[in-house]
């Protein structure tokens, strides 16, 4: 008998993919790192905390409840493995770690729905206690019911900036300011976005309006962020043009949009190409979600940032492709409809990428740490680039310790690429991407010793 298909991730894409495979009579294995399904956006608390779905998920409460219920209905028809990490894969098998034990699972068909993490570029003091990613600040509030501080500044760019600030405000936390790194003029692209997805744009405008009504300072074109405080955050400084500003605060949420989690696609051998819209190297795929490797499909934000609604559709579409490729009956009309919807959403995402552009000239001072794991400063990175004449990011990794720390380049990757591009006079596309390596997240060394041999 053929092994079951493997779905990695139980967020919107993974859940819809699982439901679709089940409908076709398959029984997928669904592996997810979290203890409960939903992904980051529809993440559930560890224990019931008395809050209603509306209080937790706001405007998206209906979708969260629908997906949670849909997944609950699948439980006895799938092989669900929560709190499980896929730390290595290739050649039709995945190494899974659960409860400090590792097992190997053979699969036939791999659907990666690994999601995204916050995209970070370093600035002075970004490793100070009290600076968190926007996603982290949101998880603290949504899943744990805590705020990251009592007087919080949110900085960076992306729709999440306003959403998280608004969620904190609504929860009764003092929001000391919202510092958007993109210029105000970029926001005119929202008009274009409105044309494709009026609801999303209106929600965003509502958040911004509520923040303004509450008297929260909202600034645009903020550059040269710098954290004040020795042992913990006491404030944040920034510049607008040549003018310098400062706000007192005790915590900061920061991110510049999102970055797809692509390490597993890399281990699976998928071809990558540079995506100008996401400013990142992403696995290539066709409109259905087929990667360059037969039997490997990619869906959701892990394939390119499109948001949760698109992730649901991409998950379903990729599952239909898997079903079709297995020569099972599949709903071709549905597949066409999904691709059409995804195409519209992609045009919306084009507008959003322009409304929240990735900063073009993020200057990183020599003293600023670029790698928070191994504490390597930008100046050391520049010295290594000059000394070894590095032009490619993996070569640079080999001669320095950059991107080798515990985070495997998840946090520092964008910053290293930025510095290497600048130092070597190349584009971000030309410096390449940090290749994924097993284990994709830390695994106890004792486990690696007991393995028969790593999947190659």
């Amino acid at each position: 008998m053929k092994p079951a298909p493997l779905i990695v991730g139980a967020g919107p894409a993974g859940i819809r993919a699982a439901a679709t495979l089940v409908r076709a009579g398959l029984r997928p294995v669904v592996v997810d790192e979290a203890p409960a399904p939903g992904g980051q956006i529809y993440r559930q608390p560890l224990v019931p905390d008395g809050r209603s779905p509306e209080a937790r998920y706001g405007s998206e409460a209906g979708k969260a409840q629908r997906l949670h219920a849909e997944f609950a209905g699948l439980l006895n028809r799938i092989d669900y493995r929560p709190e499980t990490l896929v730390w290595n894969l290739g050649q039709g098998a995945a190494d899974l770690m659960h409860a400090e034990k590792t097992t190997r699972l053979a699969y036939d068909g791999l659907l990666l729905a690994a999601g995204a993490t916050d995209r970070i570029l370093p600035f002075p003091g970004w490793t100070t206690s009290g600076v968190f990613t926007l996603g982290g600040a949101q998880i603290a509030l949504k899943a744990q019911g805590v705020s990251i501080g009592e007087r919080v500044v949110f900085a960076g760019s992306g729709p999440l900036l306003y959403l998280v600030a608004w969620q904190y405000l609504t929860a009764g936390v003092r929001v000391a300011g919202v510092l958007e790194c993109a210029p105000f003029s970029a926001k005119f692209n929202l008009v274009q976005g409105f044309f494709h997805e009026p609801r999303t744009v209106l929600l965003g405008l509502r958040y911004a309006a509520a923040l303004r009504m509450a008297g929260v300072p909202m600034r645009f074109g903020a550059s040269d962020l710098a954290v004040a405080g020795e042992t913990r955050v006491t404030g944040i400084g920034w510049q607008e043009g040549r003018r310098k500003y400062h706000l007192a605060c005790d915590a900061i949420g920061f991110a510049l949009g999102l970055k797809p989690e692509t390490q597993l696609a890399d281990l699976a051998g998928c071809a990558f190409a540079f995506s100008p819209r996401d400013c990142a190297h992403l696995p290539t795929r066709d409109g259905a979600g087929r990667s360059s490797v037969a039997g490997t499909y990619i869906a959701g934000d892990g394939a390119g940032i499109m948001g949760a609604d698109a992730a649901e559709r991409a998950g379903e579409r990729a599952a239909l492709a898997l079903i079709e490729d297995r020569a099972l009956p599949f709903d071709a009309a549905r597949a066409i409809l999904l691709e059409k919807q995804l195409a519209t959403m992609s045009r919306f995402r084009d507008a959003m990428a322009k409304a929240f552009p990735f900063p073009e000239d993020w200057s990183i001072a020599d003293e600023t740490l670029i790698c928070r794991c191994e504490e390597i400063a930008a100046g050391e990175a520049r010295a290594a680039i000059r000394q070894f004449g590095s032009t490619e990011i993996n070569r640079l990794k080999a001669v320095s310790r950059l991107g080798m720390g515990r985070c495997q380049g998840r946090v520092c990757g964008a910053g290293i690429a930025e510095i290497l591009a600048e130092e070597s006079g190349q584009s971000l596309a030309a410096v390449g991407r940090l290749r994924g390596q097993a284990p994709v997240k830390p695994v106890p060394l004792t486990l690696l010793d007991t393995l028969p041999e790593a999947a190659e």
């Binding site: 560890l46 968190f132 996603g135 603290a140 936390v173 913990r232 915590a251 946090v411």
Partner: protein, 94 residues
């Protein structure tokens, strides 16, 4: 001084654990990160400069929040559920 402020789950049963030998409390449903940061303003000292760190991503991605226990074991605070009697060493005790 604590970094995090608890907004809800105030009346969940308390769970006792130890921070640098001192008895403190978290709440049922806390991650180890939440439990520590509602009592202190860092979870560990960084590897090289020994500067205070408090985690970053809170979603198991950045690996900034690995803490050490008195018995030498290590755990990732933001993805581990708090259990009673945990003895965490932040290495930050004065």
């Amino acid at each position: 001084m604590s970094l995090f402020k608890r907004l809800i789950r105030m009346d969940q049963p308390p769970i006792g654990f130890f921070l640098d030998g001192k008895a403190v409390e978290g709440r049922a449903g806390d991650t180890v990160l939440t439990a520590i940061l509602t009592n202190a303003d860092a979870v560990r000292a960084s590897d090289v400069s020994k500067n205070p760190r408090a985690g970053f991503c809170q979603m198991g991605a950045c690996q900034d929040c690995w803490v050490t226990l008195e018995n030498g074991e290590r755990l990732r605070a933001c993805t581990t559920l708090l259990t009673a009697g945990l003895r965490v060493v932040t290495g930050r005790a004065a």
